[in-house]
Amino acid sequence: MSTQAREVPAGAPLLAARGLVKSYGRTEALRGAALDLYAGEILAVSGASGSGKSTLLHCLSGIVRPDAGSVSYGREQLDRLPEERLSELRRTEFGVVFQFGQLIPELPVIDNVALPLLLAGVPRAEAHVRADAWLERFGVRGQRELRPGEMSGGQVQRAALARALVTDPRIVFADEPTGALDSLGGEQVMTALAHTARETHTAVVLITHDAQVAAYADREVRLHDGAVQESPMLPQAVSHDH
């Protein structure tokens, strides 16, 4: 369990982004994106390809610093934190899952999953026990000695989820975690992620362009040209019938 449980006033978001701007050369990837993430919720971020979803996730998780705007996490402002504190947060309170490529190809799965704990100073034997528990939970304990290249795409993603969750993070950031999988593999990964997030009260930012994946979330925000599209109120939709 996270020892530094964050003081978040009741009803306040766990993570809040405002006015995020990020450009790459002449490309404006984010143009004033804003969102709130509440403790324990699964929030889907959807949008067309190139709409800025990955850039938003990188800013929210402190991987990339925005050109303008702010990201608040509890009392800290990620956009202003020194690099050492950001990498500590990424090791201890955030877990990240990408579409592919996050596991180290040379290491067996058990060491890949135990790695964040080893980096945090957890003794090897204990790290392996905890990593095994997560592999078990995601149905890939039988593959613990295999290297990522020897497993199916769905097994690799479930191991990547185990690695993201092994430190008991407050937030998991997942960028198209099922993007490289067939629909059944995607289902299994999403079911595992959603069940675990609900049981452990972990918040999830789930980037996806797939509506069937977004449907696992409690709530959805849509990005359009680097900004969050206003979500319409359903009662207004009904008024079209009159």
């Binding site: 959603a194 509506a211 069937q212 449907a215 959805e220 319409p232």
Partner: protein, 179 residues
Amino acid sequence: MSTRHVLLGLLAGGPSHGYDLKRRYDDRFPQARPLAYAQVYTTLQRLVRDGLADVEGTESDGGPERTLYRSTAEGASELIRWAGEITPPAPFVTNEIFAKVVVSILVDDAVDPAAVLREQRAAHMARMRELTAVKTGPGVDLTTVLSADYALAHLDADLRWMNTTAARLSTLTAEVTAA
């Protein structure tokens, strides 16, 4: 869905009465509209009229008398013929969402077609979240998962179509208003 063939299929397991058939139908197809009793009885009468089913007798179990139906040999072969027949990949030509988009272009500024699509998208997503919650609920059976998946895949297809339509609204507007 061909109710008469599904009822024939349920009768293939042995004689049954209307109430029992309705209950089994609703169990088998949990996401479908529940079958009305009246429809079960008219369908059974037509199956008998067409020689595909017969009245086996009556059963009372202390309660009111119930007519037991059974499948005939003709019914069994009709069932095999139907199950082996390819279902036409028919397009859903009556697309109410498309009709609303076109109408909102026609009425000009009164309704914004982009808003129609956005709001419809939110309603579709809300329904997809409900179906996903159903299929990932505790102790859910595979029949329920598969029927929820079927509905989800169709709503997803609508959403994809809405996305590409939203991206081509200005061309569509030009075409509709020129006609």
